[in-house]
Symmetry: C2
Subunit: 149 residues, 2 copies
Amino acid sequence: MKSEQKPQDIEQTLISRLRDKGYKLTPQRREIIRILARDESHPGAMDILREVRKILPRISMSTVYYTLDMLKKEGFIKELEFYDTENRYDINVSDHINLVCTTCGKITDFMSDVHSFSESVEKETGFRPARMRFEYYGICRNCAGRNGR
Amino acid sequence: MKSEQKPQDIEQTLISRLRDKGYKLTPQRREIIRILARDESHPGAMDILREVRKILPRISMSTVYYTLDMLKKEGFIKELEFYDTENRYDINVSDHINLVCTTCGKITDFMSDVHSFSESVEKETGFRPARMRFEYYGICRNCAGRNGR
DNA sequence: TTCATAATCGGAATGATTCCTACTTATAGG
DNA sequence: CCTATAAGTAGGAATCATTCCGATTATGAA
Ligand SMILES: [Mn+2]
Ligand SMILES: [Mn+2]
Ligand SMILES: [Zn+2]
Ligand SMILES: [Zn+2]
């Protein structure tokens, strides 16, 4: 149910891919990437800002957004959009289902073969799917255990 | 691939259900409901405002949001949230996949048995799904036909 | 018809994200 | 090592859909 690679591998892969593409490797970028690779909870921009500031206290929110935008454009992360709370960022760019806990806010991955759908969608409707967003909202095991059944 | 009921039936059902619950049936509400029941494109709040104003020129955006919020709370519509564009409203409250065209912005329904997932999610992870959001982003038949292939 | 109060209206406030500008820095080539 | 400069960063203003607020209006029960 987890991403296949280790955080450190993801981190190193990302860094060398950015270097190859000619991006400058600033401490800000390295730190943001490090957090994204390790944080399984699909953090938001503010979460990332808070974390990075433990190491780089003067980093600005602008830089966080600028970097996330760049990683997004390069296809290294996915942005999960919510209107009633800040967007969340997902280092797992493969197609999968995100399980959003409405109690604690944590988001976890559910890897599953989800592709059967996209074929029948195109066959039956003519709509050509490019990317998907599958989410379940509910109560995570942790929160269910705490109180009530 | 369409909703089973006719727009007029949906409209009447909604109105009597609101009456039963003690809501006041104002012209504003009737008109908003009429539009939601007929508009297959999953309109946004501004779309709805524009449409309603053809009949009720003085209706305010506040009222549109207030009414949508009420219908949402009562479970009569679903809100689809996007961060980079206004939210869209779906009269189809059953579980289904929404196909979002990234070219023209239209959203269409794809009814499909989607329930197989939720069982395995709970069995394998302990996460208890309450509601779902499944979307494909891509090019609709109409837009694909226009140019390219 | 009267009345209580739910609904409406217009506008201000909110807050995440984007935009703008000036300053700083990482890297490549000499 | 030094320097030039394109790229990146910081800080703050602007944006814009949505929410909130106080004053006014109108629905529906009595
Ligand atoms: Mn994920
Ligand atoms: Mn729909
Ligand atoms: Zn939880
Ligand atoms: Zn289209």
